[in-house]
């Protein structure tokens, strides 16, 4: 098993800076897809399970915290998500996303939503172990009702900086391969598609799907699509009055 070499100041600083950088730069499949029409002010915690195609058959889980910013009247959910692809060695590859989404504007149940995530990815096969810091920014416009929603999304998933460490098998193929940190241009993919879901009581079931294309708009990933089915369980905090949104069907 390969690990990140944490023994140099330079490496640590780079990791921190890359982490900071991705939090303020533009993002893919949202860690959680939310029905803003059913999300009441008393729904403080959102637990998520999901599965689908995200550069491979992938399974994920997440947790989100709903901030009630009354002065701005902009619902904000900060969340963390973890996902991993299927395969023989499921701990070799994974993705962690930290960030949030905010409903910037709402008119007649139409919400304009922005989401920003920092992404940490790990990939390993017999030739290389890669870790990557990236970002995932999306814009979503949708029609949200308490019991259902439909939305369109567009976003950009960028691999910003990566560390490569090659195995002895690859070094037999190419002894001169250079391990270490690699900076942009690394890679990036646009994604665009649809979201839809059904909600009742504290439960949301949703589906999102769409197409993926590389940042040059000419090439595509091997499978140029994404799809996710998911489930959210909203935990209500006592002391908050139920919102109209959750009471009115």
């Amino acid at each position: 098993m390969n690990h990140i070499k944490p023994n140099t100041m330079k490496t640590i600083v780079k990791i921190i800076l890359a982490g900071m950088a991705v939090l303020v730069t533009p993002g893919f499949i949202s860690a959680q897809t939310i029905n803003w029409g059913s999300l009441g002010k008393e729904d403080k915690h959102v637990l998520n399970l999901n599965a689908g195609w995200d550069y491979g058959v992938a399974f994920g889980t997440g947790y989100g915290y709903h901030f009630d910013i009354r002065s701005l009247n902009m619902p904000l959910v900060l969340d963390i998500g973890y996902s991993f692809p299927s395969g023989r060695d499921i701990l070799e590859d994974f993705k962690v996303k930290i960030g949030g989404k905010i409903s910037l504007y709402e008119i007649r149940n139409i919400h304009f939503i922005a989401s920003v995530y920092g992404v940490f990815r790990r990939y390993e096969n017999d030739f290389v172990r890669m870790v990557n810091f990236g970002s995932d920014l999306s814009a979503i416009i949708g029609y949200y009702r308490p019991h259902w929603f439909v939305a369109g999304e567009f976003g950009f998933d960028k691999a910003v900086v990566s560390n490569f460490r090659h195995s002895s098998a690859y070094k037999e193929i190419y002894p001169g391969v250079k391990d270490g940190w690699y900076v942009p241009p690394m890679g990036g993919n646009y994604h665009f598609g649809l979201q839809a879901g059904y909600s009742f009581r504290q439960h949301d079931f949703y589906l999102s799907f769409g197409r993926v294309t590389s940042q040059d708009w000419k090439t595509t990933p091997m499978v140029p699509y994404y799809a996710q089915v998911g489930y959210n369980f909203r935990i209500r905090t006592s002391g908050h009055k139920p919102s109209n949104a959750t009471q009115v069907p």
Partner: protein
């Protein structure tokens, strides 16, 4: 601002300056994935120390062993886009008095890269003619072709064009000599991976970390090299075979050409009456004697030979080579 506030502001400024300075000096030594030699080996035009020849405007990584004037065996690698590293055991033929010629086809291995639009089958067969002409020292020097996989398809395409120019032919598991057979074989040989398998995951999950445009050969070749880390178990190889670089653009271009033109490299093979040695491996589950008979049926005079204890890439491995070498040598000696 009070004193504490000023100190906090100054501390933040110092920390920010330190981080910025560290980042700047660190980035100066950072590496780029599209830089030659970082992740895949340099090619002949990037590294002049590599042995190379200039053929039809392409700088080809090439080597020859054995007496220059003796019967020539031109070794043709698989792929398209592979290289001759895995075929180097064939150098043993030089010890038996043959002139053994290896070259990486254009866009493959350590040979010069070319854009997608520059690939045509005629360019590849003309290149083979150019390599023969480069090494041939007299018109009477005999020329044999030893092609493996895609290389065996190329050898057949060349013989189909020039039936009188080749004095002997050793073919190792060409997928097919008509395009539909090629597609059927390729599809069959890679059918072991399910959508949830490690091999599929290894190939697709990478797409979110590295992307490359059609002109970014270093990136594309590296990604394609990583795909080969998980090989189809159906091929029955003894292990992972050695290579230098996989030419992604060449590979994609040749398959696209095949799909568009659906070539048939058997139309003139009936004119090639010299006996052909056709090798297939015991352990390649996607091949077998029946498929070998089908693929070789265009040749009027064929000797089929099953390479025991070996898979598709039998010339790369001890058992495969040890079982096939005596047969190849006997065949060549019979025509020398």
């Amino acid at each position: 601002m009070n004193k504490t506030g000023k100190m906090k502001g100054r501390s933040l400024y110092i920390v920010s300056a330190f981080i910025a300075a560290t980042l700047f000096t660190g980035c100066a030594k950072d590496k780029y994935i599209d830089e030659a030699g970082n992740l895949v080996p340099k090619t002949a035009e990037q590294d002049p120390s590599l042995p190379s020849i200039l053929v039809n405007g392409a700088l080809l990584h090439a080597e020859a062993f054995g007496p220059p004037d003796s019967a020539m065996v031109v070794v043709l690698h698989g792929g398209p886009g592979g290289d001759y590293r895995y075929l180097l055991k064939s150098k043993a033929l030089a010890d038996q008095g043959y002139r053994v010629v290896f070259y990486d086809q254009r866009g493959s291995g350590l040979s010069q890269r070319f854009p997608h639009s520059s690939y045509y089958m005629e360019v590849i067969t003309d290149e083979l003619q150019g390599v023969i002409d480069h090494y041939r020292t007299s018109p009477s020097q005999k020329v044999f072709l030893f092609g493996h996989s895609w290389g065996a398809m190329l050898a057949s395409a060349f013989v189909n064009e020039h039936p009188a120019e080749i004095d002997g032919l050793v073919l190792g598991e060409p997928g097919g000599l008509v395009w539909q057979d090629v597609k059927d074989y390729v599809g069959r040989s890679w059918s072991s991976g399910t959508i949830m398998s490690e091999s599929v995951n290894d190939a697709t999950y990478l797409d979110q970390m590295i992307t490359g445009k059609g002109s970014e050969h270093e990136i594309l070749d590296y990604k394609y090299s990583l795909f080969t880390s998980e090989e189809s178990s159906l091929l029955g190889n003894e292990g992972r075979f050695p290579f230098w670089r996989v030419g992604y653009v060449c590979n994609r271009a040749m398959f696209k050409l095949g799909d568009e033109n659906t070539p048939d490299w058997t139309t003139n093979l009936h004119l090639y009456t010299t006996k052909v040695l056709f090798l297939y491996s015991e352990n390649n589950q996607a091949y077998g004697r029946e498929w070998a008979q089908r693929v070789s049926s265009g040749y009027p005079n064929v000797e089929l030979f099953e390479v025991k204890e070996a898979g598709h890439d039998f010339p790369a491995f001890e058992k495969g080579w040890n079982h096939s070498y005596p047969v190849i040598l006997n065949y060549l000696n019979s025509l020398k």
